[in-house]
Symmetry: C2
Subunit: 240 residues, 2 copies
DNA sequence: CGGTGTGAAGCCTTTCACAGCA
DNA sequence: TGCTGTGAAAGGCTTCACACCG
């Protein structure tokens, strides 16, 4: 018998599900657009350094690595208004995009698992940047607990629910070995964390109300391997 | 003026381009299917440990975190034949999938940039696993050259083209800071590397015949942030 | 009977092309 | 004139549902 495990909770339908809230909720922004907002955001930050007042969809497209039609369609979903004949006001657009992405808030992050990858993430400049503040490092290995990484001390996994409550952890980053990932995810969910980023090379299942995204190095290499072998060009792996 | 840079070379059309080869080339496998083959591969390896002879699409779907219809459609693209009323022969399927993914070959990998992330990648078990062998560590910083990480010594970026030629590097992993990424990519391309995995948080442009995939931590966090703020559930970020 | 293989339908995304406005 | 905003068209992906076969 194959070990059953739980039913896999991947977001199958890419259908922008309308939640049953009382607010009529404006048009939902398509997932594909959401996945590109960070690209625009980064491009806009580069531009705003240069004290430029306005960008065209064409320029923004080039900086973000997409095409202009996509930029216009995407931005139209924000309701962001550009000026015909001119372009988009950079400052205004930065504001719109960062508001939409929730970057005007602070999102406390916990890193779970401090092996090679977890430590690298803990030290990674730009990870903590822009509102994502690492507030806890957690590991199940008693030998690691108490150790200092960067400015934080590694804490035991048993303390997780208290840590999450006390520090308002909003995002959990799983960097454990594969066999430990599901248990950690369960703890995160139980503690009330609703957003998880999984680096462990295994399927993790979470309840429908929890967001789970995954980054898998082995998978990426295998995809490159496929295209190299078939002499096709790989797509860029835009996350949707 | 916005600094021009080169035209972004993202794989815009998801159209499975048919190359003009002399071989009529069977049906192309859809990109979405390719991106899932690694999931099936991993699931199949787990099963084959357990000495199980056969899997149904339902079981495989659960292990891979997708749905059964997708599994059947995907595997049908491989031409892999399951047996009606029974399922797929595990051993046979592992062979088919790994052949298709090019995992029966050896793919020498070079890591470019040995900051926190690069070092973590260099030490990451399972990165080197299954055919992906790290054969070179390269950094532009003279202070790092000569240093040993794991079993390899960091070499200067000037030596890259020789390294690529001598060790048949097939895949380059960029783990440099953003400003250095494009230059390193250019060197890789000039040296003949046709597959690149980019961890630097910036747009990198490569010629059309080169495969480029990207992994961006900041982007992932921002996507989670969006959905958390909007109380929608994020898609899992399956790479397409 | 059970489970694969697959046409067909539906949905989402991308691209096109141009009306319309500053 | 120049560039946005957007209907419409086109393409790809997912899901459905069932014929078909071991």
């Amino acid at each position: 018998m194959i070990q059953p495990g739980r039913r896999a909770g991947t977001a199958h339908g890419a259908v922008p599900r309308r939640e049953e809230s009382d607010i009529p909720e404006a048009r939902l922004i398509p997932e594909a657009t959401v996945a590109r907002l960070p690209l625009y955001y980064r491009a806009l930050l580069e531009i705003s350094d240069q004290a430029i007042g306005t960008v065209s969809s064409e320029q923004l497209a080039e900086l973000a690595g997409v095409n202009a039609a996509k930029v216009r369609k995407d931005l139209s979903h924000l309701g962001s208004y550009g000026t015909r004949g001119v372009g988009y006001d950079v400052e205004h657009l930065v504001g719109e995009v960062s508001r939409e992405l929730g970057l005007t808030r602070d999102w406390p992050v916990a890193i779970l698992g401090l092996g090679n990858l977890g430590r690298a993430l803990a030290n990674y400049r730009g990870f903590g940047a822009r509102g994502f503040r690492i507030v806890a490092l957690v590991d199940a290995d008693p030998a690691k607990v108490g150790e200092t990484v960067g400015e934080l001390t590694i804490e035991p996994v048993e303390a997780l629910s208290r840590i999450v409550a006390d520090r308002r952890v909003a995002i959990g980053v799983i960097a454990t070995p594969a066999p430990a990932a599901q248990a950690v995810a369960d703890r995160l969910v139980a503690a009330g964390v609703a957003s998880i980023l999984n680096f462990a090379p295994t399927v993790v299942v979470v309840p429908p109300e929890v967001s789970l995204r995954k980054v898998d190095l082995a998978t990426e290499l295998q995809i490159l391997s496929f295209y190299q072998q078939h002499r096709r060009r790989a797509p860029d792996g835009a996350r949707v």
